[in-house]
């Protein structure tokens, strides 16, 4: 189970999600560690899989391949008790600049976003900016509504978890 600090008001406030335009979604958060440490957690499969899918979502990782370098590809496969078929997420790393920037495509849908994550270090802390650019406004609407609708039970559990901590 997640540690007690998860969901505390202070922790919640640190993650900001903003729809910056019709086609863009930006998530930011500052981590109390140098950029190379955050980059490591983002680029090594054995570390990445420890945080990318929150436990409360109930997905199990079936396989994970990540070749984090410019032109490399990734493929994650997850299973969920409610779904017969496993779900695959895959794409290409368009740009990888160690400790600074990763750009990748999301090719499981032809309306998938291009994702850019940047790591900006200042005074030993790192500002992570996660930016998704969708091909159309409808694609972003769909992605947001989809993420909210596909996992209602899991989000309800998360709600409970968060409510219990406040």
């Amino acid at each position: 189970m997640p540690k007690a600090k998860e969901g505390s008001p202070a922790a919640i406030n640190r993650t900001a999600v903003e729809r910056t335009s019709d086609r863009e979604l930006v998530v930011t958060r500052t981590f109390d560690a140098p950029a190379h440490v955050v980059f490591e957690a983002w680029s090594k499969p054995e570390l990445f899989t420890r945080w990318w899918i929150p436990k409360s979502v109930g997905l199990s990782l079936v396989s994970c391949e990540m070749d984090v370098r410019t032109g490399g590809t990734y493929r994650f496969v997850f299973s969920h008790p409610d779904f017969d078929q496993p779900m695959a997420f895959f794409g290409t790393y368009r740009e990888v600049t160690p400790n600074r920037r990763i750009v990748w495509t999301n090719e499981e849908s032809d309306q998938g976003a291009v994702t850019t994550v940047t790591f900006e270090e200042s005074d030993g802390k790192t500002l992570v900016t996660f930016h998704e650019l969708y091909p159309t406004e409808a694609a972003l609407d769909e992605a947001l509504a989809g993420s909210a609708e596909a996992l209602p039970e899991q989000f309800a559990q998360l709600d409970e978890l968060l409510a219990g901590r406040s």
Binding site: P2, V17, D32, V37, L47, V57, D141, A145
Partner: protein, 120 residues
Amino acid sequence: MVHYQARLDITFAALSDVTRRGVLEQLGGSDASITDLAQRFHMTLTGMKKHVSVLEQAGLVTTKKVGRVRTCKLGARRLEEEAAWIERHRQLWSARFDALDELVEHLKCKEKEDAQSKRR
């Protein structure tokens, strides 16, 4: 799902105009007639009627005609649904980044320990 998204489309289209957002803000303070709103936003009555009608279709505003005056007020639905929708997404990211935070903290400590043991 399609119905839900069609409604979101209408809402976001309604909110995509600066005058309509201004009207919602005004109505958040107090109800107003179309004539009031037209004057406040320096528009013709016809122009303001169009904006109010878009907001009405999105369920963001309701209007009532008494005599010759049509009064507008905020609709029951307001923005709660849309806010909830962004909020759910934020909770996912919050949980995700909380987990990353823990991991990063762990890696940072490990790195410090390694550096210290090398020095010894």
